[in-house]
């Protein structure tokens, strides 16, 4: 039972397992909902989906499941014989209405005439008194007035046959492929944790105290130890200006998340690719530069390095001396990158463009090689993968 729904969910990549299906069947057994599609939708959503990221996929899978059922509906209608329907119809009429039908020659004649008229009419029609349509006085159609007629279609216009809840796609934005926000970034960054006990001893050490006390023959001897801290050191280099202007928001979020997560974080800016100078203040980038060699020498090899940039530029900017667009660089960009990879053990590159577009730009492939394929997209998933690599 409900196996079709289950299969649709799995096809849409909503993480459901047998446990959830059994729970849903159990819930139906307890009669929590009955014969109401909206309620069934809410119930199955509460039981099958455990995170709002999957709500959109769930909505789509549910709609697909219903379409399968609707096809079934049509078959069922075809199976119900006409006679039966007609008799039901007649029974629902009042005596006066039956009189009027007789005056038109009986129900059968009426239906015949309707079929003929339907074939003659080609287009939707309103008002008037011959054709089938709405709001008129013809005996056929809906919303009109003719005692001998019968109704076709809904009341008046097709007004607000409510769009079903799952067709509204309210939760599209919560899909984790789409959104990245500071909090999500922080969660991803939390993977990069290496705790160590450093600094002043200001935390009570229970096991140490017990140990020492026991050794002292029962005289209480308090031991303290320093608190656990995240000692990861991060050096983060942002590509700024030009084509990266489109990604300012996400870079800002990444930056502020990194700032709060990591105690030792240093940042610098570069433009397009790294050359001999980096800067901290973009408006002063020609006056107040820091030599890249200084950066390479100041920070120890245990710093983790993250480059954030779109890596999209002309290949000359990477491969040739003098290739840089802003100034003359004596050494090619890749030479500097090699210095980085030789000095620092862990380097990754975060690219705000989606992974499937990377193969179309030559510079991206070149840079990917330089960082040993450690290029990750700037989404929550990519960030988590990157952090996992850096943490190893």
């Amino acid at each position: 039972m409900l196996l079709n729904l289950f299969n649709e969910m799995r096809a849409a990549k909503v993480p459901v397992s047998l446990r959830e299906l059994l729970d849903l069947i159990n819930a139906l057994k307890h009669n929590i909902v009955f014969a109401d599609m909206d309620e069934f939708y809410y119930l199955s959503r509460a039981i099958l989906v455990k995170d709002e990221r999957h709500y959109d996929k769930f909505d789509r899978a549910f709609a697909a499941y219903l379409k399968g059922i609707e096809n079934l509906d049509q078959h069922i209608e075809a199976l119900i014989p006409d006679e039966w329907l007609r008799r039901e119809f007649e029974r629902s009429l009042s005596p006066e209405e039956r009189e009027q039908i007789k005056s038109l020659g009986g129900l059968d004649k009426l239906i015949e005439a309707f079929k003929e008229r339907l074939e003659e009419q080609k287009a939707k029609h309103k008002g008037g008194n011959k054709w089938i349509g709405t709001g008129g006085t013809s005996p056929f159609g809906s919303g009109g007035y003719n005692p001998e007629g019968f109704r076709l279609g809904n009341d008046g216009e097709r007004q607000g046959k409510a769009v079903k809840v799952w067709e509204q796609r309210d939760y599209k934005d919560l899909d984790d492929q789409v959104e990245i926000g500071t909090r999500n970034i922080k969660v991803a960054l939390r993977r990069l944790r290496k705790f160590a006990r450093q600094g002043a001893e200001d935390e009570f050490d229970l096991s140490g105290t017990i140990d020492h006390t026991a050794r002292d023959g029962g005289l209480l001897s308090i031991q303290m130890r320093p608190e656990r801290r995240n000692t990861v050191k991060l050096l983060i280099l942002f590509d700024i200006g030009g084509s990266m202007d489109a990604h300012i928001k996400v870079c800002e979020e990444l930056f502020s998340a990194c700032r709060t997560e990591f105690k030792h974080m240093e940042y610098y800016y570069f433009h397009n690719f790294i050359y001999e100078g980096l800067w901290k203040n973009n408006s002063r980038r020609f006056e107040q530069r820091t030599a890249t060699l200084d950066v390479l020498h100041t920070y120890g090899a245990d710093y983790k390095v993250i480059f954030v940039g779109d890596a999209a530029m002309s290949p000359y900017e990477v491969a040739q001396p003098g290739g840089s667009v802003e100034h003359w660089n004596d050494e090619a960009g890749y030479v500097w990158m090699q210095r980085f990879t030789q000095k620092f053990k862990k380097i990754i590159w975060l690219n705000p463009y989606p992974k499937k577009t990377w193969d179309y730009t030559q510079s991206i492939s070149m840079i990917r090689e330089l960082v040993e394929d450690r290029m990750y997209p700037l989404t929550v998933e990519g960030l988590e993968e990157g952090m996992r690599y850096l943490a190893k």
């Binding site: 993480p15 397992s17 446990r19 959830e20 729970d23 159990n26 819930a27 307890h30 929590i32 909902v33 909206d38 309620e39 809410y42 119930l43 959503r45 509460a46 039981i47 989906v49 455990k50 995170d51 709002e52 709500y55 309210d170 939760y171 909090r183 922080k186 969660v187 939390r190 229970l206 017990i210 006390t213 029962g218 005289l219 209480l220």
Partner: protein, 280 residues
């Protein structure tokens, strides 16, 4: 027992259904949503509507799962032993019961609220799996197993700061409280302020949705901010006429400090108002 909202809490249909499903099938209900949409209030109102006691366990970032069960106060015992107190001989004197223990031992069915479970360490929910599933746990110090007499109704709220582990999610039902639409907001306002003038409410709702639509807001105002703001407006006797002229000469809506809680957001609003005035 069915839950259908109370006098002071408006519950949407899907929420009611999720709560009833969780109660009938005796599973914990995990509730997520934007801050200020009434997650904690849900548990309080649930307890009220069933007339059950509410036990709240506020999770902090330093909370360990064990603290919800019990805490063994070893240091007091050590100190007492040095003072030669009589209490020392029985371990039970030093076991402080946690919230889960209270909920399990209660003589009637209670509502247990585990608030903001995502604040704790990332492995915290995994430490509670057996307790949630079987409603029992083992006390190592006194060698007894505490089983729940009546299965408590467990409501767990999360602010989505961390991902919750899968094994934990499998054992719960889940509901996301979406930000209410205009009609629901209207009802919520009516429930809180039954005597408020309707025209003031509709003008205020217009302003509220406009502010929510401003792109780039760091924190969008939510339900609780709206309720507070209305209270301030009424307290200051600010009428709907003042609200209506908002986009002409006024910089930002009056008493906007109740709506936007971030100085960057306030500056953003002022800048937008300034720019729109310049464009006239």
């Amino acid at each position: 027992m069915k839950f259908s909202g109370t006098q002071s809490y408006v519950a949407t249909d899907d929420l009611k259904l999720a709560v009833n499903a969780a109660i009938t099938l005796e599973r914990p209900l995990l509730v997520k949503g934007e801050p200020g949409t009434g997650k904690t209030m849900l548990a309080e109102q649930l307890a009220e509507s069933f007339g059950a006691r509410l036990i709240t366990w506020h999770i902090k970032s330093t909370t360990k799962a064990h603290q919800g069960l019990y805490e063994y106060d070893a240091v007091s015992r050590l100190r007492d032993s040095q003072l030669n107190s009589e209490k020392v001989h029985d371990v039970r004197n030093y076991i402080n019961k946690g919230k889960l223990w209270e909920a399990f031992e209660a003589d009637e069915r209670v509502v247990l609220l585990i608030d903001e479970i995502d604040k704790a360490d990332i492995e915290f929910p995994n430490d509670l799996l057996q307790e949630i599933d079987k409603m029992e746990f083992y006390v190592y110090e006194t060698d007894e197993t505490i089983k729940a007499k009546h299965r408590p109704i467990i409501i767990i709220t999360s602010n989505n700061e961390k991902e919750l582990p899968d094994a934990f999610l499998r054992r719960c039902f889940f509901h996301y409280i979406a930000f209410p639409d205009r009609t629901t907001l209207q009802r919520i306002v009516d429930v809180h302020y039954p005597n408020i003038s309707q025209s003031l409410v509709s003008e205020a709702l217009d302003v509220f949705f406009d502010v929510r639509k401003v792109p780039g807001l760091k924190k969008k105002p939510s339900t609780s901010e709206l309720v507070d703001w209305l209270k301030l407006l009424m307290a200051d006797n600010i009428g709907e006429a003042v609200l209506r002229e908002r986009d002409v000469t006024k910089a930002i809506p009056p008493l906007a400090g109740a709506l936007v809680k971030n100085e960057q957001d306030v500056m953003l609003l002022e800048r937008l108002a300034f720019m729109s005035r310049r464009n006239r």
